[in-house]
Symmetry: C2
Subunit: 298 residues, 2 copies
Amino acid sequence: LSSPALDERTGAKVFLKPEMLQRTGSFKFRGAFNKLSSIPIGSRGGGVVAFSSGNHAQGVAHAAQILNMQATIVMPADAPLSKRQRTKAFGAEVVLYDRDREDREAIARDIAGKRGATLVRPYDDPFVIAGQGTVGREIAEDMAALGITPDIVVAPASGGGLIAGVATAIKARYPKAMVMSGEPEGFDDHARSLRAGKREPHHAEGRTICDALMATIPGEITFAINSRLLTQGITASDAEVGTAVAFAFRELKLVVEPGGAVGLAALLAGRIDARGKNVVIVLSGGNVDADLYARLIN
Amino acid sequence: LSSPALDERTGAKVFLKPEMLQRTGSFKFRGAFNKLSSIPIGSRGGGVVAFSSGNHAQGVAHAAQILNMQATIVMPADAPLSKRQRTKAFGAEVVLYDRDREDREAIARDIAGKRGATLVRPYDDPFVIAGQGTVGREIAEDMAALGITPDIVVAPASGGGLIAGVATAIKARYPKAMVMSGEPEGFDDHARSLRAGKREPHHAEGRTICDALMATIPGEITFAINSRLLTQGITASDAEVGTAVAFAFRELKLVVEPGGAVGLAALLAGRIDARGKNVVIVLSGGNVDADLYARLIN
């Protein structure tokens, strides 16, 4: 999608990949469906288990529903209510845990062991990364169809699965394109790790409105890809993200969740040298609670 | 656009035409651009004039901007500041009038006479109707590409320009499709007129949250088309429209203004016999104030 208002404001030719329009309201369905499809028919009886604060949960739950598999999702008790309800609506069993006192990976592994379920990791899995990468493949195909060469491609990063898949697809077709990860200010483990040349955690304490982008450190598999393909990591403050969510409401008429808007936020805040360039921004999801959304657009 | 959640809820195969993604945030740009393009080059010096408090104003202003013509928009003095500002941002001159004491048509005609400007009517003009009809043409082309025959097509109606253009395009390709106008309960002048076989005003007093759909009586040219091509008019209450706006936020991730959601509202409320059918709903715009939107989604 493009927007004359956005082009005028940024001086760039901007193309938006609207992943809020994807099944389950975010890109996460892509990786989940690809992963679940890779499980041999004979191994599907035990179902799948995943840990996620939101969008991955819905992606796995819906993919399991389509493939007639049982899904158990381990979610933090403070996850947005909308994400919990929507996960249940896809037929998954939701197990809540205490974010401060319990280890979600251990809980998920325990369930996997007892039931013979396949653990579906949110990002550090080649099938998941390849699935998210279809976002990048579609961007490359759409840009090729338009005859436009992208100069800059930005996608949000938490564990780094989306950006790793996108970068793989984009760089295969457009080797000179600069691919950048977007993160909330403070939660900048990708930006730090890319500068350091090795996986580094972020140093943020507390929270960000980008609830989907709070992973502490890049994944091992994802960083092996991202360290090779990404130009840099960029960040945006929560205030800039709020401005971007409101801009998307007012000018684009798209519902973007805070974590999904971090690339747009960096662009609107002038944190990307975009003037005169062809810029692709992945808006990665739109699952946001109504009360937070109402606050941001006002 | 389609939505598994919407299909599951309605038992239909639903296709949405998302006109909030159009330039200026509604379909109105289409008719305005077609009308302005039809003005001979030699007659463009006097510019254009239109009266509107909302989407038509922005459509005309933006079309004039693109075609390097001067636009004057006659708006009520109590129109929301945001709408005045957006119209001005497209380079139009805004002339305010007193809704209770002045006649906007007379003011617009006066300006047209003095300046040699072309009056751009909001619906009762063949070029405007043809422009809005590209919505229907695109629907017909998209459905043909999918190999799916639409059974029911619904679009909102105020003066009836959009639905007249849509019906013309749809019935040309799919003569058996049932095309229906959508209106807010009470403001049902199309539904009444279709039943009566002649133009009838609605009997509503007061207001509806569908501020874009408050015309009192169908247009003459539009009704000549609609009386021939429409199956019936359907309605939805303000409460049902609010539910539809919230559904579009939560499940579709699209910002729909109340007037743009009236077809979706009727569908969700069970007012259309949709089960097992291929149903196309035009979501005609997304220009809604943040405070009203916040109220509706909560």
